[in-house]
């Protein structure tokens, strides 16, 4: 994890160095600190699809590197409700929690009048994510806590629009599509009595499939 943070720090520093005054974005302001929240449907069932949502929230630091481009780093936390009912005597009321750190390359759409950091954009995101599934059985005691873990890489592509208000504040909204790319660590809890690990994989698989995001930020 330290190595990843170090890597992100280097990327940010490089971005800042690239953003010389002459190449700056909004009137020479080049760094944007952003808080973003996104929510995505729950694909567990038809009922969940319309009634249940997962939320993700976090912060981003973006750097305007050119007339139409930004790069950024982000940190997000999420909590996915993971309720399962197996039969009359067993139900799981657990949660999948996790965080992800990522890199974003954002391109403002010249053809649609975009000009960094304003207007319609497309962004490509690459995340390292670390997930934990805390299984909680309601009607049964297990001998040890049931915790499944996984880590991996996921990616997404987003389409959105960003506006600037009062010369300082940015607001953005849009949609993203994505999914896991590679999973390199899995740890199943041996004390689990259900097929919860598979369920966790399925939930994470579809977490980034479709999301709607809203963000507010400040131009430094």
């Amino acid at each position: 994890m330290r190595r990843i943070i170090l890597f992100l720090a280097i990327v940010t520093a490089t971005g800042t160095a690239t953003a010389t005054p002459i190449k700056g974005g909004y009137l020479g302001k080049r760094i944007i600190v952003n808080a973003e929240m996104s929510y995505m449907p729950n694909y567990s069932s038809w009922k969940d699809l319309f009634m249940s949502y997962n939320f993700q929230y976090g912060g981003k630091v973006h750097v305007v590197t050119g007339r139409f481009t930004e790069i950024g780093v982000s940190y997000n936390r999420y909590s996915l409700g993971a309720h399962q009912r197996y039969d009359t005597s067993l139900s799981n009321n657990g949660k999948i929690t996790g965080y992800q750190v990522g890199l974003t390359y954002r391109k403002y759409r010249k053809s649609r009048g975009g000009l960094a950091p304003l207007g319609k954009f497309v962004d490509v995101n690459l995340f390292y994510h670390d997930d934990k599934y805390n299984v909680v059985y309601e009607n049964i005691q297990t001998f040890a806590p049931v915790i499944h873990k996984s880590r991996g890489i996921s990616g997404s592509i987003g389409f959105g629009t960003q506006g600037i208000f009062w010369d300082r504040v940015v607001g953005n909204a849009g949609v993203r599509f994505g999914g896991p790319i590679y999973r390199f660590f899995e740890e199943k809890s041996t004390s689990d009595i259900g097929n919860n690990f598979d369920y966790m994989q399925q939930r994470l698989m579809y977490k980034d499939f479709f999301s709607v995001f809203f963000g507010v930020g400040i131009i430094l």
Binding site: I22, Y26, L27, Y39, G113, L118, G119, I164, D167, V175
Partner: protein, 775 residues
Amino acid sequence: MLKPFLKSALFWLIPAAVFSQQTPNMDNYQPARSSGTLPPDVLQTTTEKYERSKQQINTGQSEELQKAEDNFYLQTNYAVDQILHSGAILVNDSMGIYVNRVADSLLAHDPQLRAQINIYILRSTVVNAFATDRGSIFITVGLLTRLHNEAELAFVLAHEIIHFKRRHVLTGYIEGVQMAEGEGKYSATTAENRFLKRHSYARAQETQADEEGFDMLVASNYDPHAAMGAFDILEMAENPFTDTLFHKSIFEDNHFVFPSKYYADTAKAYKIDEDEEDHDLATHPSVQKRKKNMKRRFSKLGGTDTTGSIFLVSESMFYRVRAMAMFEEAALHTNDGEFKEAIYINQSIQKVYPRNYYLQKEMVRAIFGTTVKKNAPFAFDDLSALLEAIFSGDIEEDDKTDVPVGQQARTKSFISSSDRDGWNVAAVKYAWRVHTMFPEDKDIAFWCRGLFRELTVENNLTIRDFQDNDSDMVRIGNMIMSDTALVHKLKVDTPIARWQVAIDHLDKDSLGATKYWEFAFVEEMKDSAFVQMFKDAMAYADSLEALEDIEDDMTSKQLSQLEKEENEAFFGPQGLKKVVVINPIYQSYDSRIPNGMLDVRKSIDGRTQMMNAMMESANTVGLQCEVLDPENMDSTDTDRFNDLMIFNDWFAQKGNFKEGDGLPVQQEQMNQLAAKYGTNYFMWCAYYTNREPRKGTVFRALSLAFAPIAPLVAYRLATPREDVYFVSIVYDITTGKPVWGVQREILKQKPTDARLKLQMYDMMRMLASPKKQKS
């Protein structure tokens, strides 16, 4: 049948006679320019004027009418400022000073009213005069050219002063609002009748202005007969100010004549509309009706009222001002791309001022413009490009007609009928003749070079296509002497007269491959400077061909790479140190607003923000930027106001020509301006915003069912569609070529302040950033 003709002939004979007698010395005529100090009318911002006008709102009337009046002040101030700020008017120029003195004389008894009125000369060839609610009266150059005496001018002014005094512009607007809303007297009638009543109201205002203007004329001791003269001018307003004979011989000499078929044998006289009936949709009563009304009013006068002077201020000044207006009109036609009209007007005035430097120079300019337009290729890829070309004037209007009405139509028909080669040859001959008369003039030399290039590049003619002696011309001309039928066609027996008959009547076999223009340069080719200029143009044509050959040899990949590099160079960084922005445009349209959809308030505010953003951004990126606009001037900036006029003329002409074509601008003047402002780079820029209802409401409403995107959908359902269009072009005025440009269609995006600032910043940054080195 004869009556209209006689009337028309009389109308044109009178000015012609006066014209020939009253010919002020115009040898050293310089184009009309503003002088003295700039008045507050020009300098104040629209907002300032609007705030001041608002104080006049009648608070005793209904709230709706107060709102309508408020809107009127906003719109009218904006519209008038569009004229005042565009450089289209002259301030304190000789013509304006004289016209204002006539107003002094007219209102000598009412100094309070006089103090509220400012009269400006509007640089337009259209015959018109109009008043605003603010007391600004505009008289066009076109109207001045048609006046026969000062009293006629006084009547026109009196008419407009009454419009102002009676607040006709405001009451007419309020009437329009009531009509649209179906209020007041319009409440119990159909939409059609409301419309007709509105126009009837406008005609009543005109009649009032006529009648009270007539009374003012009488009261100020001007000859009341002048009112009739003013109506005569109105009757002929669509026609040029003179119907002087045009003959093709002005382009011919002993070695060059055009075939007679290009020149219409006769030209009809102009006809006067004798219709006395008002048209339902006309805002003015018919001229005949107005004349009749004036006659009735005149008959009621008695004693000394029926007499008066036709000149109270100065007769000599009047004739000078009229001559100036005529000189100006010749140039204005060229500025507007009406080259044939310019040629006609110019040749007419030249009959009185034959070797006048200004006229000769303007003639070459107009001829140059015509030639370039005539040679413009008709290569359009699709229908939309063709339509665009038609509307932009890239396609020459076809004025060919067998029996033209008036000498101007005869001129236009002649130029349209003549073939490209022959016309270009004639153009070169004329320009060269003027160049030898005024060899010091760099503009004339520039146009000469341009005409040679047109000859070699567009018409593929070289010096070898022309004969350096006239032996063949004489030989072929002599052939007609053996044909008795043709001999009778000779009016005089000279070699060129024989040649004229030969090219008109001999068949192709007799003429061989000889072109009628082949001997055109027999005299000119004796001049080594002429030959050298011709050869230079041939070398230029060769260099273009060589360039084309290189491009032909390139692969499609190389070509696309070349195009990419050219695009990058044009749209990319420029490394400029200074740029001057001319009259930036900001207009905000909103489909919810009736009458033109222009949101005046937003347009005014947006323009101010745009100019501020430009200056701030330029400072940020270290680019020197000057915005040439009356809003940035003070009363002593008359020179800059004149410069603004020149630049606006230049940009208007730029719009009339395709890229790569020459431009009939006075280049020397532009070079001087570049030196004066310390930069070659001048920008035209416009920012438009548009607001209209979104389409697809039903689909959006259905999409609301999908909750994740519901907030976005709801936002779109609740807000209109907004678009932004931003265009900016920077020209190097010393070469006339655009060096940088941006054209953005920012669709479905809000025109926020941030967007405006960002676009301005990006533009300035791009202009200031160092140019990329070519690979």
